[in-house]
């Protein structure tokens, strides 16, 4: 069977029940779905997904599951664009693409706020996924794809982001999650490669057994038929995460299935969430801006792949 062979081309193993959330799974009408942040809380698998309403304005909704495979999406959004107060001005065109990082007992949610003033990273926090508090913006315009590290680096909070539309990943540091500095670029697109035109952080970095940071990122290559978005992996230095120590030469997952190829934004896989369970990695990814899928791998596989792909090419 050719279809099966194709599936084995990717390091990420797609779950056979994909896609796990589609428009048909929602109890309300909306335009499209994309990007799932993922976290396990109180033995419940939680996804924070971006849903665009029929007007075209995006909000963030929670989806819940007991097993990590079958999810039900809340009827009401968890975080919506502010309609009053100091944040309203910068969230008028919607909020999207959340990522979740747990630091101590607080879950920090970063998301992109859009307005006529550009895209900015915003920060919210929750302890229980019932109440959520917006803390404000943590970037200049334009910036996208912001993720926080789950622990302090040399006593400071650290974040990765993709400033402006230029498509490189930058690191910065903060004492208080309000004022950010120490900016430096850590990785850039590679000419000719699958990540030729743009790279951005996809999932908050995870410290793995040998101390290094695993960063799952997305790469974009522009083609004559539009852009292709795929997922890759880098390892960052354990002491100084601004140093990339290894980078996959090939993507770990690319759009292949029909539901990844066809949708509101075709040929897109965009990871925003991963749950690490012992050695298993559950990767929740939005595809074609139309549904959410699940892929699985192990840390060993990613490490092996990273080394192998360096040798192979």
């Amino acid at each position: 069977m050719i279809a099966k062979k194709n599936k084995q081309r990717d390091i990420i193993h797609r779950w056979e029940g994909n896609p796990i959330i589609t428009l048909d799974d929602l109890s309300f009408r909306c335009a499209d779905i994309c990007n799932a942040a993922a976290v396990k809380f109180d033995n419940i698998y939680l996804l924070l997904i971006t849903i665009e309403d029929l007007r075209g304005i995006k909000s963030l909704y929670l989806a819940r599951s007991l097993d990590g495979y079958r999810f039900s999406v809340d009827e009401k959004p968890f975080i919506t664009p502010s309609t009053a107060g100091p944040f309203e001005k910068y969230e008028k065109r919607g909020i999207a693409d959340s990522k979740i990082t747990q630091i101590d007992d607080i879950f920090y949610i970063t998301y992109i706020a859009g307005s006529e003033y550009g895209f900015r990273l915003a920060l919210a926090e929750t302890k229980d996924f019932k109440k959520v508090k917006k803390r404000g913006f943590i970037s200049e315009p334009d910036s996208k794809g912001g993720v926080l590290f789950p622990e302090k680096i040399n006593g400071k909070f650290a974040k990765l982001e993709m400033p402006h539309d230029g498509g490189r990943i930058w690191i910065s540091y903060s004492d208080d999650l309000v004022y950010w500095g120490g900016y430096s670029e850590i990785m850039s697109p590679r000419g000719g490669f699958w990540d030729f035109h743009k790279v951005g952080p996809a999932v908050p970095p995870i410290r793995v057994a040998d101390g290094r940071w695993l960063l799952i990122y997305y790469g974009v290559k522009n083609t004559s038929a539009g852009s292709l978005s795929r997922i890759g992996v880098v390892f960052l230095d354990s002491e100084d995460p601004s140093i990339v120590v290894a980078r996959t030469n090939v993507p770990i997952i690319s759009p292949r299935e029909i539901y990844e190829r066809v949708g509101d934004v075709p040929n897109t896989v965009c990871v925003c969430g991963a749950i690490f369970e012992e050695d298993k990695i559950m990767l929740y990814y939005g595809v074609a801006r139309s549904c959410i899928c699940l892929g699985m791998t192990t840390l060993d596989e990613l490490v092996e792949h990273c080394i192998a792909s360096e040798k192979e090419f």
Binding site: K89, S115, E116, Y117, G118, F119, R120, G136, F137, I138, S139, E140, P141, D142, S143, P163, H164, D165, G166, R168, W170, S172, Y173, S174, D175, V178, Y179, W180, G181, G182, Y183, S184, E185, S188, G191
Partner: protein
């Protein structure tokens, strides 16, 4: 006229500046930062250099970096090399890599009377890493708590961002790192804290979302910045139709923080506007006149390397007067003087 131009304009021209390397020639000595230091006025010139032309060759300036030191060199191609692609006057592409036809660094010029300047022979702030491989531009100085902080635009393949240095003597400077990530320039740092925080205006590009605007930002330490707010957007009309950006460090007056910012308008013409921000809440605009206070008029402003540009990033207050140093046409450095009272009278 509120601002009176110096009769000695342009005060500094490219021919007054020694190139930083053999084979280079200076094509611009403009957009000066300005500061009163001891009994001198010091200008921090943006010195733009390209390569001396030779027939049949394409020559571009490059910097190579060795252990944190930038070395200027001439890169030479045969004009008929099939791998070379001429872009426009700003540069060439060779085997997929961009080369700019001119690169900038920061050079000091010193004067006792604020009018007659002597330009240093060697650079003051020079590119030192690949983050600065396309040069350093448009320095602004702010005197805070006894030290001189200098911010400037650094240019690389990732666009432009703003970095900070500090000096005590204008002989050497210490780099403090990037303070605003790409794309961000036109940073004006206030000379004192407000409500316990340092304040800066900055100009992110936010391309595709309205037009580039002036933002407000705060910092506990001059190194980490946050609480960004958009405070001045370009207005419709001929003067600001493309963008606006901040100038030098604002001047404190009893009525508010006095700033002079630039608007880029129709036909890429730059003109200068006064702006008054609230003393206690500097994100609040108190006064902003409809019309500019200074526009390109004389031949050295309406002609030159990039015609119809007046751009200021350096002003010094002395005896109730503002000495506004400005770049003309991306080529020369000039001076215009106004009394603070006259300038305040332009506010509606």
């Amino acid at each position: 006229m509120i601002f009176k131009r110096s009769e000695k304009n342009p005060l500094i021209q490219p021919a007054d500046v020694k190139p930083s390397a053999v084979g280079f020639q200076v094509v611009g000595a403009f957009n000066p930062g300005a500061v009163a230091f001891k009994d001198e006025i010091i200008l921090l010139l943006r010195v733009a250099e390209n390569c001396i032309h030779e027939k049949g060759k394409v020559r571009v300036p490059v910097y190579t970096f060795q252990e944190g030191i930038g070395v200027p060199e001439v890169m030479e191609f045969e004009e008929n090399d099939p791998d070379i692609v001429l872009k426009d006057t700003r540069g060439v592409v060779y085997k997929g890599k961009d080369y700019l036809s001119s690169l900038s660094h920061i050079r000091l010029a010193r004067s006792r009377n604020g009018v007659d300047f002597i330009v240093d022979d060697s650079p003051f702030i020079f590119p030192c890493s690949s983050d600065e491989e396309y040069g350093i531009e448009d320095a602004r100085v702010t005197f805070i708590d006894g030290r001189y902080y200098i911010n400037y635009t650094i240019v690389s393949g990732d666009g432009w961002s703003t970095a900070l240095s500090v000096t005590d003597d204008f002989k050497s400077h210490e780099r403090l790192g990037v303070i605003f990530h790409p794309q961000n320039k036109d940073v004006s740092i206030f000379p004192e804290k407000v409500n316990g925080k340092y304040i800066a205006l900055h100009r992110p590009n936010n391309d595709g979302f309205g037009k580039p605007s002036i933002w407000y930002s705060e910092s506990p330490d001059l190194l980490h910045w946050g609480n960004h707010k958009c405070i001045v957007r370009p207005r419709p009309g001929v003067y600001e139709s493309m963008k606006v950006g901040g100038g030098s460090a604002p001047l404190k007056t009893d009525k508010g923080w006095l700033c002079i910012y630039h608007g880029k308008g129709d036909n890429s013409k730059y003109s200068l506007f006064p702006l008054l921000l609230d003393l206690e809440e500097p994100w609040r605009v108190i006064k902003r006149p409809e019309k500019p206070v200074f526009e390109p008029e004389l031949p050295y402003e309406t002609g030159g390397f990039f015609p119809n540009v007046v751009f200021t990033n350096g002003m010094v207050e002395k005896d109730g007067n503002i000495y506004m140093y400005y770049g003309s046409a991306d080529e020369t450095s000039c001076l215009a003087v106004a009394s603070v009272n006259d300038l305040m009278s332009t506010f509606p």
